[in-house]
Amino acid sequence: MEIDKMDSEHSLIKPKTLNEVRAMIRKHKRKDFIFSSIGLLTIIFALLTLLILFVDLVMDGYPKLNYQFFTDFPSRRAAHAGILSAWVGSSLIMLVTFVTAVPMGVAAGVYLEEYAPKNWFTDIVEINVTNLAGVPSIIYGLLALGLFVYTFHLGQTIVTAGLTLGLLMLPIVIVSTREAIRSIPIAIREAAYAVGATKWQVVLHHVIQYSFGGILTGIIIGMARALGETAPIITVGALTFIAFLPPAPITSVAPFISFEWLQSGFTVLPIQMFSWLSRPEHAFHINAAAAGAVIIMLTLVMNGTAIWLRYRIRKNIKW
């Protein structure tokens, strides 16, 4: 007990009685409580805002939220107007976005994290990618208008819109891929190398496998963001009235798969909603509320899937 004595002699803090120590703990616990209450209140506030918005939309749009709403084309008569062309357009564009942005984004993320040498060039690429994730979406729209519509002559079509949103999503996928890869302990890699695996084998069998949950989350969050985008889609020339569906991707004649739908004009859910909202008739505002509720539900489902998948995949990883 020599040391203890010396400590208290040298320390500027006087030794505390048991009651003082208890008071101190109480004080610290109070701070804990205050912080967690503030945190809880903030979460409740944020969730409540979303909930009120969502409930309001659902209540306003309730009369329209039926099967017919999903199978009707837009119309000048609010009662017969539906979101068929809008949700089909949104889905097809999401498909193009997924097919283009995901392989490219994941590959770029893996390369930057695993293969790229650390030099000034990769530094510049890194800064740019992170920056791009925060660029306003209208900029992507203007870029796409100049590049896809006027230079590549892809027209104001589903493929243009899909590629535009793909560009928008790309940095999000790259950044989240890298984050996910970084969370894998270096020991896993070293263990794989130790048993003679090549770099490619390490990446394929370990890195991608273990970071898959995180990558998937990034992809789905990126897709959910792209789903609600309006500005770049308007810039590349979305239509407002389109009362037919793009050509079916599967045909009855050989080769049974058709890509003509890529060349079709389109509209998307947020644009349909906006168009209804700006009409004078109140009945259209109900349609707009219903369309808004559908968009929020889709986003919720997508984000929910992301969380569920991440949970499932993490559970299966046993380090």
Partner: protein
Amino acid sequence: MKSSALVASTFTFSYSINAADKTIAIDGSSTVYPITEAVAEDFQKKTGTKVTVGVSGTGGGFKKFCRGETVISNASRPISKKEMDMCAEAGIAYIELPIAYDALTVVTNKGNDWAKTMTVDELNKIWQSGSSVKNWKDVNPAWPNQPMKLFGPGADSGTFDYFTEAINGRAKSSRSDYTASEDDNVLVTGVSGDKGGMGYFGLAYYLENKDKLNAVSIVAKGKTNGVAPSEQTVMDGTYQPLARPLFIYVHATKGHFDKDVKAFVEYYLANAPKLVKEVKYVPLNSSEYAAVSKHWQSKKAGTGFDGKNEVGLKIEDLIKRIKD
């Protein structure tokens, strides 16, 4: 260029133009949109020909039209000099067809019981560029001491152009210290929420919100009695100077040689009286529609405005001016 061609061909490999699959592409003004949408909806149901309508605004619509991307352009104002040049350069001729009227409506709060009627001069005093009017009593001493809150469309809209031309004498010349929104429903909410509120927008928005707003009767220059905006006063030409014609511009060659486009325009003109009313705009009167149809048959390309917007022009006079 080589790589871009490669990318383009990758996506177009299965693209083939098939006569039955052709679509009639229309774009342009959001004001004209509801009318064209109604026509497109019915035409497509009847004939099966695909029609698409976009909303790029009158200016954006003409840009696409003069690049040959659309065959019909919706316009809430006549084609401008710049747009005429653009089309001429691309070798695109157009036929100018007035298809309906829109009555710009000056609205006040439901609680406003003093300014039921206003003269063009009074409106000018309020809306002119640099105007410092902030209170209703500054406009007319007989009106109460009530602060004025102004609402109007943004400077990109055709409504703004026409209103400023008609009231202030020059398009786009307006005071700028008012609450501007491209969404007319925002203007409705603004005016209905403030006792001293005042704003202007198309008649359809007033008719939908009659219970929340008053429409001001307008005394035209040189007249003594106010005229309230309504279908009748617009059609008989007494609601002046805020009634404006709306147009579609049709690609002249395709309009007459492409049978689908031709059928569409003819369907448009034949059904306009009924459909225009249904979407709450004001149709032309029957003699005016007859004149427009005759103009369409005569295949005369060009514009009667020569790039300048005019206020209070009679449809028949306008058409007579267009000479091929």
